[in-house]
């Protein structure tokens, strides 16, 4: 097989992404120093809503925080063991266990004691989401908690009544926020945050769409460090502006054939969260000239998509791009609800077939040669139906490799065995190590 060689270079905005992430965790920890407030909740919670309380409201989102702990194997192990000592089962969500462990140990992964949130603002789509913060609240001595149920079915079946069900909870939630914090709510700030959320999640989808190019301008390992900003503060101007800057850079890379992987000759995708302590698995692929160009996870966890006129997948057109002016709170909440209910990674909670369809679409449109599925024991929600997805992809003619592991509990990941599995998979694809 001919080995192509492309130009490669580091992303220019890489350090800025790191800076935004560091500031996020620092701002949360230091919020009280300047009279601000802290809130905790999931990466999928409607962060645009608490933004209406003021510019000094700082969140910490549980999943990326749990992943950050997982990356630090020593801390993660102590967190997991602390949780097990309290009697919680080892097969629960590993992000959640890392988070709880951090609270129990009273250690913040970014230094110092764990900064206690002033309130918890969560939504509920997977089995762990509401329970996560119910326990977190108890562990921290009773933090006021509000949770919005968003499990109203797949987007194709959403009706006005179902939107109403979510929006009504949001209205209640705003009253609750005012009562809990003693602050007056500012609808203009909510409207701005909703616009920012639509912008950031649509632009992220556009960035991912550019990875249809050969060679791919981004590899998935790098994308993990970029998509994460959307899981931290997708409603913030800072993140939306950063994604626009990144979009320009990725466009430049496509135009100039700047590749993520120098010898790209095989395009793959993964699925579900990676084993965060072992991201080098993705670098190992590069030795064969293989690049993971993304996944439904990196594309659709925060990216919001729509089917374009030509039938392909592209970024969802934002309300602003459609010329819609958001006039009031109710309209903002309806747009926010509709926007989030269309999120790809929310669809397969209702049927694995919906996920198979999206994965097959990615395999075709992103011109893949094979697929690596992570049977992730750490996340029940995203792993549900993954064996069905495997069969569907095989039926479509794609070679599929599976490996078992855990996104946040390194004790359930076997690095040598996974490496050996990749070797076998590469051989079946006819690829030998280049370097």
């Amino acid at each position: 097989m001919k080995i192509p060689t492309y130009k490669t270079e580091q992303l220019k905005c890489w350090n800025k992404a790191k800076e935004i992430r560091n500031d996020f965790y620092k701002n949360y920890a230091n919020a009280h120093e300047n009279g601000g407030l802290r809130w905790a909740g999931g990466a999928w919670s409607f962060g645009a809503i608490p933004a209406g309380l003021g510019d000094d409201i700082y969140p910490i989102t549980g999943e990326p925080y749990g992943a950050s702990i997982a990356f630090d194997k020593e801390l993660s192990l102590r967190c997991l063991e602390a949780v097990e000592k309290r009697g919680y089962a080892r097969d629960l969500c590993s992000y959640m266990r890392n988070y709880w462990g951090s609270v129990i140990l009273d250690e913040y992964a970014f230094g110092g004691k764990f900064p206690k949130p002033d309130f918890i603002w969560q939504d509920h789509i997977c089995c762990s989401h509401a329970k996560w913060y119910q326990v977190a609240s108890e562990l921290e001595g009773g933090i006021p908690t509000f949770c919005i149920d968003v499990a109203v079915g797949p987007y194709t079946e959403v009706t006005d009544n179902r939107i109403e069900y979510v929006v009504n909870q949001m209205h209640d939630g705003i009253e609750w926020l005012e009562k809990t914090t003693g602050r007056k709510y500012d609808d203009e700030k909510l409207i701005e945050a909703v616009h920012n959320e639509c912008r950031s999640t649509s632009v992220w989808a556009e960035i991912c769409e550019l990875n249809k190019a050969v060679p791919a301008p981004l590899d998935e390992k790098s994308m993990f460090s970029l998509y994460v900003l959307g899981t931290l503060e997708k409603h913030s101007k800072k993140v939306a502006d950063f994604y626009e800057e990144l979009l320009d850079e990725v466009k430049y890379r496509v135009e100039n054939q700047i590749a993520a992987v120098k010898h790209e000759r095989c395009r793959l995708m993964s699925d579900t969260q990676p084993p965060w302590g072992f991201l080098k698995v993705f670098r190992y692929l590069e030795k064969f000239g293989a690049v993971s160009v993304g996944s439904l996870y990196t594309f659709g966890l925060i990216g919001v998509w729509e089917v374009k006129e030509d039938g392909s997948w592209g970024p969802r057109t934002t309300p602003k791009q459609k010329g819609i002016k958001i006039e009031n709170r109710d309209q903002a909440l309806r747009i926010l609800t509709d926007w989030n209910l269309s999120k790809p990674e929310w669809q397969h909670f209702y049927s694995p077939h919906l996920k198979s369809d999206m994965m097959t679409r990615i395999a075709k449109e992103w011109k893949l040669n094979g697929i690596m599925l992570h049977y992730n024991r750490g996340c029940e929600g995203l792993s549900i139906g993954i064996a069905e997805n495997r069969l569907a992809l095989i039926d479509e003619g794609y070679p599929v490799m599976t490996f078992e592991g855990n996104m946040g509990d390194e004790r359930e990941f076997d690095e040598a065995q996974t490496g050996s599995r990749i070797d076998s998979f590469m051989e079946t694809l006819g690829l030998e190590m280049i370097e």
């Binding site: 070679p399 050996s420 599995r421 076998s424 051989e427 079946t428």
Partner: protein, 253 residues
């Protein structure tokens, strides 16, 4: 043309030599802790025995979980490729290769040209592999060589934990305390391993003909259980534990 295949498995290292298309030597030794030295020494011994000098060897291909320790190999391939190449070269009609060694079980589906279409390997646990049977034979206090034959004397179906060697061993102890005949327990163990392997085979899908390779292919009781589960006759090559080394020897630079 002289081609060498070296299969460094979890339990045994196998060296096989092909000269002008014919297998002229095959030897094995326990892998032990010094797998690198043991592989090199076995290779030297086999060369001496056959009167072949190192310079006459055209290719040395290593495989197996310890393939990387063979630093004098000219090529290295995975167990999956070696197993499929070996089995489909011996039996071109084979489309499904089941390889059960000491620590791993794998199922490989090939197309008519012998190309791998899909494969599955057991995860983390040896319950679906030879070491599981070995541990159970120890618990029953019967020699491993007699285990398969003994189990064929039973026609009982006793359900057993097919997922975990530790739990299964405690079940064996309970059955012994309940005065269950050893042949019934041996059959229950073979049925349990076969059930686990069958699940993996069905995961990748199987087409006839089916070949079973690896050391566990000597266990006649296991073969019987597997054939019953799959409702198919299984081809067992001569010297099934050498098929991986044979496949490796065939793949040269």
């Amino acid at each position: 043309m002289i081609q060498v295949g070296i299969d460094v498995g979890a339990k045994f290292i196998k060296v096989l030599i092909i000269k002008d298309g014919n297998v002229i030597a095959k030897e094995q030794v326990s892998t032990g802790f010094e797998s690198k030295e043991n592989a090199a020494n076995l290779f030297k011994q086999v060369l001496q025995k056959t009167g072949i000098s190192r310079d006459e060897v055209n290719s040395i291909t290593s495989t197996g979980s310890g393939r990387k320790v063979v630093d004098f190999a000219t090529k290295s391939i995975t167990d999956v490729t070696a197993a499929s190449k070996g089995a489909t070269s011996l039996y071109p009609e084979v489309k499904t290769v089941i390889d059960v060694g000491a620590e791993e079980g794998r199922s490989i589906r090939c197309n008519a040209e012998g190309k791998i279409v899909d494969f599955a390997i057991n995860e983390k646990c040896a319950a679906g592999a030879g070491s599981f049977t070995e541990a159970m034979a120890r618990a029953l206090e019967i020699p491993l060589e007699e285990f398969g034959v003994l189990s064929l004397k039973s026609d009982k179906e006793i359900p057993m934990n097919a997922q975990c060697a530790v739990f299964a061993e405690s079940e064996v102890v309970s059955l012994l305390h309940a005065k269950t005949p050893k042949e019934d327990i041996a059959k229950a163990i073979n049925d349990a391993v076969a059930s686990r392997i069958t699940s993996m085979v069905r995961k990748v899908g199987f087409e006839k003909e089916i070949a079973l390779i690896g050391g566990v292919a000597y266990n006649t009781g296991f073969i019987n259980s597997l054939e019953t589960d799959l409702q198919a006759k299984i081809i067992i090559p001569d010297d099934p534990e050498y098929v991986g080394a044979y496949g490796a020897a065939l793949i040269t630079n």
